[in-house]
């Protein structure tokens, strides 16, 4: 996928993270310990803003976000620099999302992530304007990647034409992060 910035997110199961601020010390610890193996800089807090990226772990090449939406909390990874080659970008952001989510879960065992509804946001209006044509163009690549990784899925565009292009990936089941991680690690040919 040709895009400067790609975000992949999954929902956080309702009620398992009552206060998004609980993630703040976890993010600080990730920076301190270098446990994601990349340059991470700071933790930004926007809990005072409604329906916002409430807590952001800001990095040089990636950000990790607890996002409050009207439908509930989501956890996102944003790949913003030093991206992998075009044909590996989705894989790259997915790997980072799962790695960070697993660290959050290890630190806060009550937190549960759902993997039945993934959302890709392409934060690059130059290469991927939010149009039906772009959605169609990217659906092939996203669909192929998602089916290889997750099995049977459906893809839908986001509802807001003024927002960045969104592709919603829906599947019939939610599996543990570890299962998704294991499948992602296998070569694509398998």
């Amino acid at each position: 996928m040709k895009a400067r910035r790609i975000e992949l997110s999954i929902p956080i199961e309702a009620g398992t993270l009552p206060d998004p601020e609980a993630v703040v010390p976890v993010f600080h610890a990730i920076i301190r310990d270098g446990s994601l193996g990349e340059v991470l800089v700071d933790v930004a807090r926007y809990g005072h803003v409604k329906n916002a990226p409430a807590v952001v772990l800001v990095g040089h090449a990636s950000d990790y976000v607890i996002e409050v939406t009207p439908e509930g909390l989501r956890f996102a990874a944003v790949r913003k620099r030093d991206a992998a080659p075009d044909d590996r970008r989705l894989l790259d952001v997915a790997e980072r999302l799962l790695a960070a989510a697993q660290q959050v879960q290890a630190a806060l065992p009550a937190v549960r992530f759902r993997t039945d509804e993934l959302r890709i946001r392409v934060l690059d209006r130059l290469n991927a304007p939010n149009t039906p044509e772009t959605f169609r163009r990217l659906s092939d690549e996203v669909g192929a990647f998602a089916r290889r990784w997750l099995g049977e899925v459906t893809l839908e565009p986001g509802a807001d034409p003024s927002a960045p292009l969104e592709i919603w990936i829906r599947r019939g089941k939610s599996e543990p992060l570890s299962a998704l991680s294991a499948r992602l690690a296998r070569p694509a040919e398998e």
Binding site: K2, R4, R5, E21, V24, P25, H28, I31, R32, V39, V41, D42, V43, A44, R45, Y46, G47, H48, V49, K50, N51, A52, P53, V56, V58, H60, D63, V65, K80, R81, L123, D124, R125, L126, N127, D160, S162, A163, P164
Partner: protein, 754 residues
């Protein structure tokens, strides 16, 4: 295969050519810095003047609560002294007098999503800031802004910052007249003006439509202009009470009256003269004393006034001084919808939330049937999605009448009263339906330790906590108080003019650092920030909310009829207030309550180890140094043009590079030298060739002749070889200009040149 699309190509037709060129120039400077062709100090001032500011941890180090750790950014050149290239920074978007169109707000929302973290932050100077922006993204970010009529030029650095204005200008019943066209004219007259490129420190301008209200805050500006009129026979003449030399910072100083009545025709030239006096005589070595307020204090207002008048008399006439007056009224805002009253029945039907929001956030305009409506932004923040929703409402109900406010909110103007329920419903739907505008819960905060390199304590963490607690206060007198929190003494949150102000400090208690805030009381928000408060004493950050509760409770209980907070403070006396502070000053031992040893919202053990070198103003880089850097860049661009097979353009650029360097030198001797090529060469010849100052010890005036020859026969249609030779000559001329610069420095400061 088609080339990748670029914002430059896509937006070319929609962008002013001069702004487009400026951004291209900046992009070239980025490239030159990466190649080590521009020194870091110069590049830092260059990027600051384009609004690209440093941010906390950009020195590549971060305290984790126990120790400092290195942030392993890729190895690259720095982007300023002690500033790592890849460290994220802040981008300040200038919004002259706060006026925003729906299209502009939408563009900013997109930029926040694609280059920042999805949050737009409104500042106390009516700017918008984006944080965590990579320096290499800034040219495209600037292009996308320029395409909707916004420039970040001179948003930071030693320059004229955003011109601010009362947000009610044009709709306020108390104003002498609408100052908007004057603020607009002055903002764009000074933007990039030659006379403001060589100032030793930043320079701030504010407009107010009246004397008595707070809105313009003219008392703490370098130039504060208050609208006034006088009768001249049958005619009413417009003008301004002009104040100069105000400022906050560590030691606030009230602006002094420069002229009781500056006619509207003189507003621009007198302001220009003030800038020139400041540029010429302002402090340049010690930046702690370099603001205009120190110069006015040192000279005395009488002498400063005399100097300004002398300077004014010497100015070359400029048609822009009065051209805007011929079009007064042409740019006035017009309502999108007819003004209509809101019926009591419709107001009731809109619900209790609407009633509360309306009471706090809505004010009548002088135009019947219309109101302003404030969008309360907690700590000045809104998301991209919210920004798009605000823009959509503006398109539907008000047109392009939005304003950013100095208390970090947004304001709709020209709202038909009948549309208020629809406006509220739309805001409520995206989480922007809070009331509390202008109340005690509408806490103002600077970025503090969240992102600012100078932050000592977490002003945003504290402000978020105060905002949450203070929303429940309902005593009317207490609700009217203003609370402002700065993370250090620099007063970016304007704590000196709050009823209850705080500034971040640190204290060592029980052998450990503990974040504290100094309480500042006695400030006055009204009367254009009529009085500055004084610090009373410090309390630990975690005790500030309790101290505020105690202050507010006593004020509500003890105030006399008609008292404002400042009256009450004066009546009870600072000693009493100090006793309240002392009662909240205790810090328990670490093992009893370690929470005191961390700041609001930050679980790390508190330290001041992350405080860095401020970029509030860059190092003083002289006009000459900037000119030589620009010349350097033009020589490089000439090479690129030649490589692209455009020898004629390359030759023209090479000549332009020599003229640029010659003009920078000539400016040292004659600050009035224009951009006219013949005049530049003439002045250069008189001051640097005839005096032999430009001469090389071995070849004498040879390099100067490169300029003279090229100027005598401008290269209209050069061949590749001619252009190549001219570029080489331009490089030699530039090297000679650098050598000449060193001689000039040695003349004034023999040790500095060593």
């Amino acid at each position: 295969m088609a080339a990748d699309p670029s914002w430059k190509e896509r937006l070319a037709a929609r962008t002013r050519q001069d702004w487009s060129r400026e951004i291209d120039v900046f992009e070239t400077q980025l490239e030159l810095r990466q190649r080590g062709k521009i020194e870091e100090k110069l590049f830092a001032e260059t990027r600051l003047r384009r609004g690209a500011y440093g941010q906390r941890y950009d020195n590549g180090h971060r305290q984790d609560g126990q120790k400092a750790q290195e942030l392993a950014f890729p190895e690259r050149p720095t982007k300023g002294p002690g500033t790592v290239w890849d460290a994220p920074g802040m981008m300040r978007l200038k919004v002259p007098y706060g006026k925003l169109s729906a299209e502009q707000l939408e563009a900013m929302a997109e930029l926040a999503e694609e280059y920042s973290d999805g949050i737009l932050h409104v500042t106390t100077r009516q700017d918008v800031q984006l944080h965590f922006v990579h320096i290499e993204d800034t040219p495209d970010l600037m292009r996308r802004l320029a395409a909707v009529g916004i420039t970040s030029r001179e948003a930071c650095g030693n320059s004229v910052r955003n011109v601010t204005q009362c947000t009610s200008a044009g709709v306020c019943s108390g104003e002498a007249f609408d100052t908007t066209p004057y603020a607009h004219a002055l903002a764009f007259f000074l933007l990039g003006h030659d006379d403001v490129q060589d100032m030793g420190r930043k320079f701030k301008v504010a407009f107010s439509g009246c004397r008595q209200s707070a809105c313009g805050l003219t008392s703490f500006h370098d130039i504060g202009a208050i609208a006034t009129t006088r009768a001249v026979g049958e005619r009413v003449e417009r003008g301004f009470q002009l104040f100069v030399g105000g400022g906050l910072g560590a030691v606030p100083q009230a602006a002094q009256l420069l002229e009781e009545f500056t006619p509207e025709t003189e507003l621009l030239p007198v302001s220009q003269a003030v800038c020139r006096v400041f540029a010429r005589l302002g402090e340049r070595e010690n930046r702690q004393r370099a603001r205009l307020k120190f110069l006015v204090k040192r000279l005395g207002i009488e002498e400063f006034r005399r100097l300004v008048r002398d300077e004014r008399a010497k100015l070359r006439p400029d048609p822009r001084w009065t051209a805007f007056l011929e079009a007064l009224g042409a740019g006035d805002e017009r309502p999108l919808r007819a003004g209509a009253p809101l019926s009591a029945e419709a107001a009731r039907a809109a619900g209790a939330g609407f009633a509360r929001w309306r009471a706090d956030n809505v004010r009548g305009q002088k135009q019947a049937g219309y109101t302003t409506a404030t969008v309360s932004l907690p700590l000045g923040d809104l998301t991209s999605r919210q920004a798009r929703a605000v823009a959509a409402v503006a398109r539907l109900l008000t047109g392009d009448t939005l304003r950013t406010t100095v208390d970090q909110n947004l304001l709709f103007r020209w709202v038909s009263e009948a549309d208020l329920p629809a406006l509220y419903a739309a805001l409520e739907q995206v989480g922007l339906g809070d009331g509390d505008a202008g109340t005690i819960a509408d806490v103002t905060s600077c970025p503090g330790t969240d992102t600012c390199k100078l932050g000592i304590s977490s002003s945003r963490g504290l402000s978020a906590e105060l905002r949450r607690r203070l929303r429940v206060i309902d005593a009317p007198a207490a609700r009217e108080l203003h609370v402002k929190c700065s993370g250090c003494y620099n007063s970016c949150a304007q704590h000196h003019v709050a009823d209850i102000g705080f500034l971040g400090v640190s204290r060592v208690v029980n052998g450990r650092r503990v974040p504290h805030f100094q309480l500042v009381v006695g400030g006055q928000w009204t009367d254009n920030a009529g009085a500055f408060g004084l610090a009373i004493g410090a309390v630990p950050s975690k005790n500030v909310p309790k101290l505020v509760d105690a202050l507010v409770a006593r004020y509500a209980a003890e105030r006399a009829d008609g008292d404002v907070f400042r009256d009450w403070v004066q009546r009870v006396g600072k000693k009493e207030i100090r006793a309240l502070v002392d009662a909240h000053a205790h810090v328990p031992p670490y093992d009893v309550d370690p929470s005191y040893y961390s700041d609001w919202g930050d679980p790390r053990e508190y330290t001041i180890g992350d405080i860095g070198e401020g970029e509030c103003a860059g190092a003083v880089v002289s006009y000459l140094e900037m000119g030589l850097a620009a010349s350097e860049r033009e020589v490089f661009e000439a090479q690129l043009l030649l490589d692209q097979g455009e020898p004629a353009g390359a030759a023209r650029r090479a000549l332009s590079a020599m003229l640029q360097a010659a003009r920078a030198l000539a400016h040292e001797r004659n600050p009035n030298v224009s951009e006219d090529a013949a005049e530049v060469v003439r002045e250069f010849r008189v001051h640097f060739y005839d005096t032999k100052l430009f001469f090389d010890p071995f070849v004498g005036g040879k390099f100067a002749h490169y300029l003279f020859n090229a100027q005598a026969e401008p290269p209209a249609s050069a061949t590749h070889d001619v252009a190549h030779q001219l570029i080489e000559e331009a490089q030699l001329f530039l090297d000679a200009a650098h050598a000449c610069h060193a001689k000039l420095v040695a003349q004034t400061s023999p040790t500095a040149a060593e």
